[in-house]
Symmetry: C2
Subunit: 600 residues, 2 copies
């Protein structure tokens, strides 16, 4: 790692491509900047947001905020596999006669056609796995006391000591999802000691979508701040869609392998077998999927507990496995083969996302026996995965009324010994289809405040349809709000820097800075310009709410001017003292003698 | 009140007008229905939402939900003054030589033109006030042990005992804003024992808007569920705009009289006097404003406490009064004349909304000395108003990080002896201009959960511009979510009925019912139809997320079918017993012997 540049994603960094550079930044005031750990040759991208001077001429330093380097790849080429060097340097991986891709992995339409709708056109990566007897997980290294470049990268990114990163990963309280076959990804950490993260779901279905659209959604989601992305495709070309996504993704990719396994048996859940599932998992491990949702906690004996629910089982994976258990009258094969899964995951550093297949689908079903029974099993499975040094996070609901939210995370943290909690919302009411990004952001902020490490976004289309580009952005921004509000509530160091910078800009009428410091500068500016489109209005000391004649911000500015001088500060001290004397004199505030001035 | 129909708003009820009937309902499955207290001749409108039968043929009763009767008036005619009979029957009011309207009340443009841009065309009401020595407030009656028709109306509407209404109003813990000069309004109650309410702000400014637009916003806001509306106009035709709004409003109207007073002195805060303010208040009392924000807590000695804030004073009223105090070096005339204001309010039953002029405008300034100093004064003023039997609510912030929200309401409730708290959001982060309906709904749900009685909505345009029609709707729906989620979290009786009905419809694939039971049926259906527009999809047992081949809801339906019979229930009991036996045998769940079936 002597030459840093060599190791960075080529398209955005080294060149050249106007489209890439254009799409990577949210706003002209944003630019790519770097945090550096020169000693270890680590550079982490941040967005520098430039600011205008204050009205009194004081310069305002650019604000540096967390970002991913990507998006910015040329989709047909993908990102550079810059992390490959770190992986190779550990000497514990090897190439092998891999399973590789098969046409049938893309479904019956592809088989009939003789090809997926769009082949992957970039370099075909050669899959790696752990050498025999080795485990290549970040948890494994952390437990051995090793500090990996991935951990250093994360520490720099989070502005924390690398030992905190190592010890949290070693203890299972944080994960760094980093499949050795996804060397394009920028390491990130999920754990309650760190910034709250958000996941965006995309994926085609049997009804709609194309590969291009899904890659565009990835770019779009990571541009606006998604920390990980789940590809939940259930339609055609599942394998190839995932290949395009992985090769272009700077953020970890998660999947639910049972979805593809189900496609392989043409949607007949009863025809699923461990062998088909295992084969699908290996296919995805080789491609580079960083974490997989596994519904191993849906046990046969828990299924009847859902019979009296208002909304039964609403998790797709959960209902697939419940259906399978019932049809075969056998225990869930994900549970009975869990150790084998652990061995596979340890060979690629795939993290478990232990699925909550029995999560409530309505507030009526929240915190019920089925949900908590499954959680007990997820706690057991967490321990079992840790025996293989496999990283684990645990998924959580769903639909929970606000007063029952906190119990969810506290119970999960206790039972699962601090393994990161990863929740979908939760939605705090069921009555607002079309607005479930909002109903769920309320619950998400609450649950993150008490320790949930990652929030799975919900878009306005939840329960109604597949999200389009606008919905993805709305979902991401809404969840950035929830995650950030939780960081602030948790007192995360430095969390309020952006709030304070934006509020200062607001107070000083630096309109352009208000836009660019926000999570969505484009929308903020559009809204402003609807009422006051003229460029002078961007520097005007008023806004459309009060108009030019009167403005509250201007009056407070005057107050500050009045009380800002040394002389004025002395006067304030005098006023405050008089006020205190007055209160000390007996607190007669009902009809007070005026302490200052001469009221009528 | 022998003939109920006579007393109900004419346009919607008795006739006729296609536009009115069309705009009053949100969806074709919604219809106007009634709750009746036949003994006392009270009828309260509710929306009945019809539902399809369940797949097994079981009928689903229409769900009845809270609503206002209006909108539905013909704007040029206004609503019928149906509450006038109740007011007259009390015999404690009289007509008098009223101040009435003056051309200059509409501002300089109207004076120059010789008329406002649009005259009020309906009946000119004759203002009433209390007879000499009388107080005509709902609090006065409640304290005397009288149960008014307004209280009965509210009790029926809230599905509570009328004695709860009376006693809460008597104690000051709830208010029924009901100016005797606004007989078109439908009584509603604001207090923490009742459903959480929401307020929508509208109003023109010097920069933009017309009378027609403001009336349309009123109709629109109340159609989607605003419980009260504040007219914050600061532009031209303030008096006449308000007249149109009041005559058409089924919900209580609030104002901030200092805004109009400021217009009367051409925006020069220093030129304000108690006399001009008092005259404006009387003008508005005669028109029928139900509650007024009064920034009487901004005391001269508190002003310097804001000098070191990140965002100073952000309340318009607060900064007007702070500017005035500073310029004159005198105590706030709203504070020094507060008793006189109480006398005026008692004569019309106008409620105080004690303004928090020093509320924080950024999370950095939350819960600071200036904010809490003012709250101490608002507590004092609450007591003082109660001595005049004047109803009071207390306004709250603003911008508060989530972990500091609860303290706000608990402190206010303690200091102000349970007077209803009425908060703006609060926004839990400052970094998302364009999304402040969401940043604030998070804080609003939290603060309502702990006792805030009414939430002032925030639209996506907050901080950026004036809300248009879409923004008003988004703000209202977002706040209906916050208020409802808080009702659910508080365990308000019956609060989950709508959630449960919608979730049941969702589970049973009654798509049209999912739309119509939601807070915004139009948007929900639009979103659904983007992906699956065909009519058969509305009854299909699948949705666009999973497609027709596989559907989790269908599988759970199968589980219920499997376990729904008496035979199956016995089987469940058996399974659960076996499970329990298994656990009793030592809880060896790490590598369990299968209790059921024969796993591989």
């Amino acid at each position: 790692m002597s030459d840093l540049n060599v190791n960075l994603p080529t398209p955005l960094h080294a060149n050249n491509n106007a489209r890439a550079v254009q799409t990577a930044e949210q706003h002209p005031a944003h630019s790519l900047s770097w945090l550096e750990d020169a000693e270890h040759g680590i550079k982490v991208p941040v967005t520098a947001i430039s600011q205008a001077d204050s009205p009194d001429g004081t310069p305002n330093e650019p604000l540096k905020v967390y970002r991913t380097m990507g998006p910015g790849s040329i989709p047909e080429q993908g990102l550079a596999p810059w992390r490959a060097e770190w992986i190779a340097a550990r000497g514990d991986t090897e190439t092998y006669e891999a399973r590789g891709a098969r046409l049938e992995d893309d479904g019956r339409t592809a088989v009939r056609r003789g090809a997926p709708s769009q082949q992957w056109k970039g370099t075909e990566p050669v899959p790696l796995r752990a050498k025999s007897g080795k485990r290549v997980t970040q948890m494994h290294y952390a437990r051995r006391g090793e500090i990996t470049p991935e951990m250093r990268y994360v520490a720099l990114r989070e502005n924390v000591d690398v030992e905190l990163v190592r010890s949290e990963v070693a203890a299972g309280r944080a994960i760094i999802p980093a499949n050795i076959n996804h060397p394009e990804s920028e390491p990130m950490i999920i754990g309650k000691q760190f910034l709250v993260k958000i996941n965006a779901n995309i994926g085609n279905s049997a009804v709609t979508s194309s590969i291009d659209e899904e890659v565009a959604k990835l770019e779009w989601a990571s541009k606006w701040g998604a920390d990980t992305l789940m590809d939940l495709s259930t339609g055609n070309d599942i394998h190839t869609t995932r290949e395009w996504i992985l090769r272009n993704s700077p953020i970890p990719i998660g999947t639910v392998p049972i979805y593809q396994a189900l496609e392989k048996v043409d949607g007949d859940a009863n025809a699923l077998t461990w062998e088909i599932y295992r084969d699908t998992v290996i296919e995805q491990c080789e491609q580079g999927v960083d974490y997989m949702t596994v519904h191993a906690g849906v046990l046969l004996r828990y299924v009847p507990l859902t019979a009296d629910r208002v909304t039964g089982i609403v998790s797709r994976g959960g209902s697939i496995m419940a259906g399978w258990c019932l049809a075969h009258h056998e225990e869930n094969f994900l549970y009975t083969h869990f150790d084998e899964l652990c061995e596979i995951f340890a060979a690629y550093d795939v993290a478990f996302s232990l699925g909550d297949g029995l999560r409530p689908g309505s507030i009526a079903d929240a915190n019920d026996a089925a949900q908590f029974a499954e959680l007990d099993t997820l706690a057991e499975l967490t321990q079992r995965a840790w025996e293989y040094d496999v990283q684990v996070m645990v998924e959580g609901p769903g639909h929970i009324p606000l007063h029952k939210v906190r119990e969810n995370v506290e119970r999960q943290q206790e039972l699962c010994k601090g393994a990161p909690f990863y929740t979908l919302g939760p939605l705090v009411t069921d009555i607002a289809p079309g607005y479930d990004h909002i109903t769920s952001a309320i619950g998400a902020t609450e649950i993150a405040r008490y320790g949930t490490a990652m929030l799975c976004y919900v878009t306005p289309k939840e329960h109604l349809g597949l999200p389009n580009r606008d919905d993805v952005k709305t979902g991401v921004i809404t969840y950035k709000i929830a995650a950030h509000a939780a960081d602030v509530a948790k007192g995360h160091p430095g969390a309020t820097a952006r709030d304070d910078a934006l509020s200062k800009a607001r107070f000083e009428f630096r309109w352009n800075d208000q836009f660019s410091l926000g999570l969505d500068p484009v929308t903020a500016q559009e809204y402003h310009d609807e009422t006051l489109p003229a460029e002078p209005a961007k520097t005007a000391h008023f806004c459309s709410m009060c108009g030019p004649k009167f403005c509250s911000m201007r009056i407070s500015q005057d107050i500050r001017d009045t009380y800002g001088s040394a002389e004025a500060q002395a006067a304030i001290a005098g006023m405050q003292q008089k006020s205190q004397e007055f209160l000390n004199a007996g607190g007669q505030v009902y009809l007070p003698q005026p302490t200052i001035g001469a009221p009528k």
